[in-house]
Symmetry: C3
Subunit: 342 residues, 3 copies
């Protein structure tokens, strides 16, 4: 167990201890509600002041302004949340060690190239023609298909599937259960049967992309499905064949993007959003949770709803929909009055 005094923690973040407990032992961190006398917490937002006042925390990180409102042991800092994040690292459990080298149970094709310092873990399978960069981690039970290329410092957590000819940049992170490069969903109806269209393309994932657990990214029909630099994809997202995700875009959990749709840069898709195929979503557009989109989205737009429309309009209309019972009442009253008038 890691133990620090309140004073030593304050020193680590350039803070000043206020109140009685500078020498108290702190063994961990927690939120204001849950923290006990041996834990540190923080107050970053004035609306939690009451919580801070009642907190049993051994010490609370606060701004100069908030420091005056509290009694008890405080550490005055410029940014409580940044200081808290820094202290959190001190108490963080040791990270998992990724032993460099190839685990004896891994199956590696004779012609695969494995970079220096790479860690290929138990039961991983590396197919023919694969090239893996330096310090790459391939987790247990992963599958890397033929002729895939993986850049330096990229990490596949356990049980990732990377189908043939995938191209990954550097510092990519792929979480467990993700499937990269499965066939796109496409058929020709011939004599009452859906005949499979071959998908001979591939998936390209650029530097610094992160892909969530159990997300699926299908390969292109001819060309590529492309995830641009720095994009971040959450869990259980569906990205269909030939989709393009622009650099630094964010796709939240359970969103789905149909074939050949392209997202610009810094786009945000919130959770459970659905996009039809062959659309373009402009730079910095935002689609709120559960939105359904069947038309192009202009850059910078903020759209909501099942038939996605501008969020302001959507909120206004939603409010009127809720007032429908009242509106119908008013309509009836008018009808009565007219009847009595005529």
């Amino acid at each position: 167990m890691t133990v620090h005094t309140v004073r030593s923690l304050a020193d680590q973040v350039g803070g000043v201890v206020l109140g009685p407990g500078a020498e108290a032992a702190i063994t961990g961190i927690n939120d204001l509600r849950s923290a006990g006398p041996d834990q540190l917490s923080f107050l970053a937002n004035a609306k939690y002041e009451a919580l801070a006042r009642e907190s049993r925390a051994g010490a609370i990180l606060v701004t100069g302004k908030d420091a005056e409102k509290l009694t008890g042991t405080r550490i005055r800092v410029e940014s409580p949340s940044q200081a808290f994040a820094k202290i959190a690292q001190l108490f963080a459990p040791p990270p998992v060690r990724d032993e460099p080298g190839i685990h004896p149970s891994a199956v590696i094709a004779p012609d695969a190239v494995i970079g220096e310092g790479a860690s290929i873990q138990a039961h991983a399978v590396i197919s023919a023609g694969v090239k893996i960069g330096a310090k790459v981690v391939i987790g247990a039970n992963c599958f890397v298909g033929e002729r895939s290329l993986i850049g330096d410092d990229t990490r596949l957590y356990p049980l990732v599937t990377l189908r043939e000819r995938s191209v990954l940049g550097a510092r990519v992170i792929i979480h467990s259960g993700a499937v990269i490069g499965a066939d796109g969903f496409g058929y020709d109806l011939q004599n009452g049967k859906h005949v499979k269209i071959p998908h001979t393309g591939y998936v390209q994932i650029d530097d610094d992309v992160e892909i969530g657990a159990n997300t699926t990214i299908d390969r292109g029909r001819f060309g590529r499905t492309h995830i641009g630099e720095g994009a971040k994809i959450d869990n259980l997202v569906m990205i269909a064949h030939n989709v393009t995700i622009g650099a630094h875009s964010i796709v939240v959990a359970q969103a789905g993007i149909s074939g050949s749709t392209s997202l610009g840069r810094y786009v945000t898709l919130a959770g459970q959003v659905g996009l039809a195929g062959h659309l373009h979503v402009g730079d910095k557009a935002v689609l709120t949770a559960q939105a359904g989109v069947s038309k192009d989205v202009p850059a910078g737009a903020i759209l909501s709803g099942h038939h996605a429309m501008p969020m302001r309009e959507s909120l206004k209309i939603e409010a009127l929909v809720r007032r429908l019972p009242e509106l119908v009442e008013r309509l009836k009253e008018l009808e009565d009055k007219i009847r009595s008038l005529s």
Copy 2:
């Protein structure tokens, strides 16, 4: 093949045979529509009486009341559905045997502790510092990360991923493809780049929880993501970092819960529900299928719709929405009348 007579089945459930076929051979069970002369079926709900009358089943489990309405061979019991479930067990195929011991192809860290009677199956990987209780089953190709703790009689079906420091209680069931403990989805935007926020917390799953296939439960940022005792989670559900699911809650397939949201006890989320982050859903609240929730939900509430509202209100408003064409007609008529009046 298992064969019973109608009479011997009746004896098993304390039932009385009515009609001609007491000595007929029964080799299996089926629903009223599909059952043949060598199969047993049941009538538990009066609305299926017509189906029962036309059924080809060799015998039908019925209540005393329904027994009079049918001819053919019947078994009169108090609860046809409970009797049927009991008889179903007689015809159930033998369960899969889970050989106790460690399969020679499994990779086990030298310091891992494996409880008595545990079954560690082919190609499973058990990391350093793991403690596994008695009679635990770890299915083929599972990964158990460093320092994870697994209580007695818990079962991981094949291809489950349990990341480091997960804590599982007793009698937990995790279905194939589930990913427990992947990093939460959190970034700081710095100079136009999304910088990853470390997620050093963990996932805690209490006794008697069941987790569906391909469901993902992310680890906490600092503290834990917590699934309370007896909660049941279906397939393809997304549970984000620091979420709390209260005891005995039900989360149906493809629902998604954003970061730091907490559910009380006995909450029900139906299929494809989406919850925003930092919310609280009170005890016994119910969210109907595809509901979208962006505000706290009081205990006991039943909410529906994309902008979740009380189900009664939702149904009323939905009915009025469908009447909009008529309401617009009435509005037009009023306008005409006013015009003629003035």
Copy 3:
């Protein structure tokens, strides 16, 4: 690298070269926007004519009618898209070779039957009583549970889980991460606890079905969950216990089907559709993206929306909902007029 001349490609598809570049070297294919001088593209839809005019492609496949509207090198054919698909195969990378035989790292039960020419790949696990047909491919790290039956020419991509007693036809394709045969989601509430209902049924998948990545299909409670011949299921789909999918139906990504619901033949469920349990969807019915369905759907119907209704009605009502602000204005005006009249 594969190189063809424009003329040789034209010959392959029975086309006629128009324009100057018959002898130009073509090394690949691409869409009109991205194609360079050494790539072939195609114009199949008149609305992309402007793109074709500006394209840098070395040659463009066109119909006789469109050929006259363009300059540059063209190949005149009857069906540009079919010709393009044929030529795409010429440039397709060599397919992955699936070495027949059993990889030494695979774990095969002594009594499992493996058909002629089957390829059982690295770290696959084949349980007791399994029967695998001729030329079947079981990918790396797959799990095949006890007594499962797999027909000829069927393929499981890496990391598929097939639980016990699954029955697969011939030429079935199952993509990575799919979980076939996990327990259905069913409990009895007894004394405040959800008691698990045993699911002793199985999953049957008929000939020529394709199942997408990370899709889950639960086993039946007693009988079977059944996917009919030629049905195509996309990624991340949830199919619950005892569901029936009729032959040649299409289920797009992230759709969910609750327990015991049956789909007829040639049904289409678009992305993110949700169906309640115990429903029937008639032949050739179509549910558009994100539709929510809680009632039976007649054959041939096209339904839309969260409370699914006929698409025409849905579009009309949606248009009126968007006009609510205007309708409320008109209502107010009428009220004012009445007030002044009376």
